[in-house]
Symmetry: C2
Subunit: 251 residues, 2 copies
């Protein structure tokens, strides 16, 4: 197993960092890594905002649900779907790109582009001995996040990533069994098999939560997943994404 | 610069592979790497379908727009947004998760989860000396792709990834300048600055396309991006995603 795969397999989210900014060399390397990712039709339909201003970091920490490590870390980044730049590009050629940008396909292209870039940033950072944590919590209040970051139309902040020198170590959380996530040739529709796999995995996760060094709880994967999804949240995004110029295509 | 960052920065899409299947050890490592990625609220809302059946690979190659390398490679994978498994999980606990799964937030969670996993798979494969190419072309006809792969409701194939021992080498395509993609604290709204950056980059890309060892053309980034987006495609996805149980939330 080579160093790259070891780095990838060692991942765990870090939620406490030394409050020391990364060097410019470190942040440059992370951004370069992000930009090296594949991108649909070479569109590069994303932007990365590096938040170094202390007051802004604290505001975002609050918006993300009082997650201290959003403010206290080495580098806080926000990955955004971005077609604003493409509107400018199109204007140089007298082209109208609204329909594409507003379509479901357009949304998928930009979200996927941003996510691939982000995952490269994450692996690069982890290879440098840094820890990372994706911050979906920004989606609690993207309207305010957009204000803080002054993002225009056709730019949608998707998630943050806190990066820094780790100030905690903890165990990895075991993933679903491969046979649940990976299907050969056709999607495995065997419901009894799936239930059995989930019941076994529930036991694995229960043991993990009981025995990990902190944050112990009595919960299984399926009950936690069910509970997370039963309480629909962020329904305001159905409308807000449209206000920012995404997902406006009529079916 | 460590091996991991070197691997990441060396990426280029490969579009010709030796038609030899990867070993089980290789494919296992790639799937394990995929599963090690971060996932929103630990939902792991994605599936990976490995297509080894020759007839299916040829069918998908046709659907993707006659891209031979979709059929001829070492391993062809399709990454899917997946909440089907969560419906099963929720049924074990008598919970109703439809609203969350149908919301824009739900779509974002599952698409991002799948993309992070895919990018890990890509980097892992490249670290093993393999080449990869994301296949967005599957979205030309997701209805047929879903038939071939027998994916149920609440599962949406997003893109493919062809992986294999490279049978070509070529130059890397230069990315947008960092100052265009990366913003400090607030989104850079300076339109004149952006136009200047795009004009410089257009020159870079024009030179790249003129001088690369094959596939030469006379085109700039901004005209190609504008042209790609001016011809809206895959508008059927606006409705199709809804048919599969995604993006049904009323704004």
């Amino acid at each position: 197993m080579n160093d790259v795969i070891q780095t990838i397999l060692r991942h765990r989210s870090i939620r406490r960092f030394k409050n020391e900014p990364l060097t410019k060399e470190e942040t440059d390397q992370i951004i370069r890594a992000a930009q090296a990712a594949s991108t649909s039709s070479f569109l590069q339909a994303y932007s990365i905002i590096g938040v170094t201003d202390k007051a802004k970091k604290e505001e975002l920490a609050e918006l993300a649900g009082s997650q201290d490590y959003v403010a206290e870390n080495g580098f806080f980044t926000v990955f955004c779907a971005d077609f604003s730049r493409h509107h400018t590009a199109a204007s140089l050629h007298g082209q109208d790109i609204r329909e594409a940008v507003e379509s479901t396909e357009g949304f998928m292209v930009s979200v996927i582009d941003a996510a691939l870039a982000a995952q490269n940033a994450a692996i690069a950072a982890e290879s440098m001995g840094l820890g990372i944590c994706y911050i979906g919590g920004l989606r609690n209040n993207l309207e305010s996040v957009s204000s803080v970051l002054e993002t225009p139309s056709h730019v949608l902040p998707l998630f943050g990533m806190a990066i820094g020198r780790p100030a905690q170590q903890h165990e990895q959380k075991p993933r679903l069994p491969q046979e649940t996530v990976y299907h050969e040739n056709t999607y495995n529709l065997n419901s009894d098999e799936l239930k059995q796999q989930l019941q076994n995995y529930d036991e694995t996760i229960l043991q993990y939560y009981r025995s990990r060094s902190s944050g112990n709880k009595e919960i299984t994967w399926s009950s936690q997943a069910a509970s997370t999804l039963a309480h629909s949240k962020r329904l305001y995004l159905n409308a807000f994404t449209q206000e920012k110029g995404f997902l406006k295509g009529r079916p």
